[in-house]
């Protein structure tokens, strides 16, 4: 009996030790300090790119950001998966996807703002 309790405690300790802090799901970064050095570097480059956009495009990005923030976690995960799919497409396929998107956007009425 004592041996079982000891083994159970050791197993629990191993599980707690091995579980990463963010294992419950990928959350939005709430703080600059939460970012890794690479994420900080990428964020700075993205910021510079954002600063060079025209105002109208900036506003679109802001709206999409709000939509992204209010998105349910499962839907956000699906978007991330689709982003990975897009990243893995060959350049030609990716170009075709962008053409398809432009065509689809012309056919589809814009979402209410």
């Amino acid at each position: 009996m004592r041996a079982r309790v000891t083994i159970s405690m050791m197993a629990l300790g191993v599980v707690l030790f091995a579980m990463p802090a963010g294992a419950t799901g990928v959350l939005l970064a709430q703080n600059w300090r939460d970012l890794t050095p690479k994420e900080r570097s990428d964020a700075m480059q993205n910021y510079k790119q954002h600063q060079q956009l025209p105002q109208e495009r900036k506003r679109d990005i802001e709206q999409q950001y709000e939509r992204w923030r209010n998105m349910p976690p499962d839907q956000r995960d699906r978007v991330r998966q689709n982003y990975q799919r897009l990243q893995q497409l060959p350049p030609q396929e990716r170009s075709r996807f962008e053409q398809k998107y432009e065509k689809w956007k012309q056919q589809t009425p814009p979402p209410p703002k």
Partner: protein, 171 residues
């Protein structure tokens, strides 16, 4: 004492070659005439070498160092019987068990109290702009947010035919 009885008394000495020449001649003459004594003489001749061999062994046993024999025998007996285990012989095993239990307890304690911390890496990125500090998630996932509309409708967009698409089957 009959003639045969007197000869048979000397037969052992005759076999051993301990008789004088005259006695040997007398015994020999008799053995040539008496079958009974001749048979006995043959039996004695056959028995004497065996007796000598036996006597050699007996003498050898008599010459044994009994103290040495006893010492070796006792040594064999002692080694064959398991010696009683002294009480202190269990101590190393007890110490080993106690050590294992302590190690397990320390392991559990460390595992329960050890929260993995990210290793501090000093990277000089300068002071981030206020917009980035206030909304780090926007600029972290910027490429994704930039294409959010397309990514949300990925499968639908993928299904959109382009003008240069050729049908796979012309019917």
């Amino acid at each position: 004492m009959t003639r045969c009885a007197a000869i048979q008394e000397d037969l052992t000495a005759w076999v051993d070659g301990e008789l004088s020449e005259q006695q040997i001649r007398v015994v020999g003459d008799h053995l040539g005439q008496c079958g009974t004594c001749a048979d006995l003489a043959r039996q004695l001749r056959a028995a004497v070498p065996a007796q000598r061999q036996t006597l050699t062994c007996v003498v050898a046993i008599a010459d044994l160092d009994r103290a040495e024999l006893w010492r070796r025998t006792r040594s064999l007996l002692v080694n064959d019987v398991e010696a009683p285990r002294p009480r202190w012989a269990w101590w190393p095993r007890r110490f080993a068990l106690a050590g294992l239990a302590t190690a397990a307890a320390v392991g559990v304690f460390v595992a329960l109290n050890n929260t993995p911390q990210p290793a501090p890496v000093m990277v000089d990125l300068g002071t981030p702009p206020v917009e980035v500090v206030e909304r780090p998630d926007l600029f972290k996932d910027y490429p994704l947010i930039e294409q959010l509309d397309a990514l949300e409708n990925f499968d639908t967009v993928e299904a959109v035919p382009l003008d240069d698409d050729t049908p796979s089957q012309n019917g």
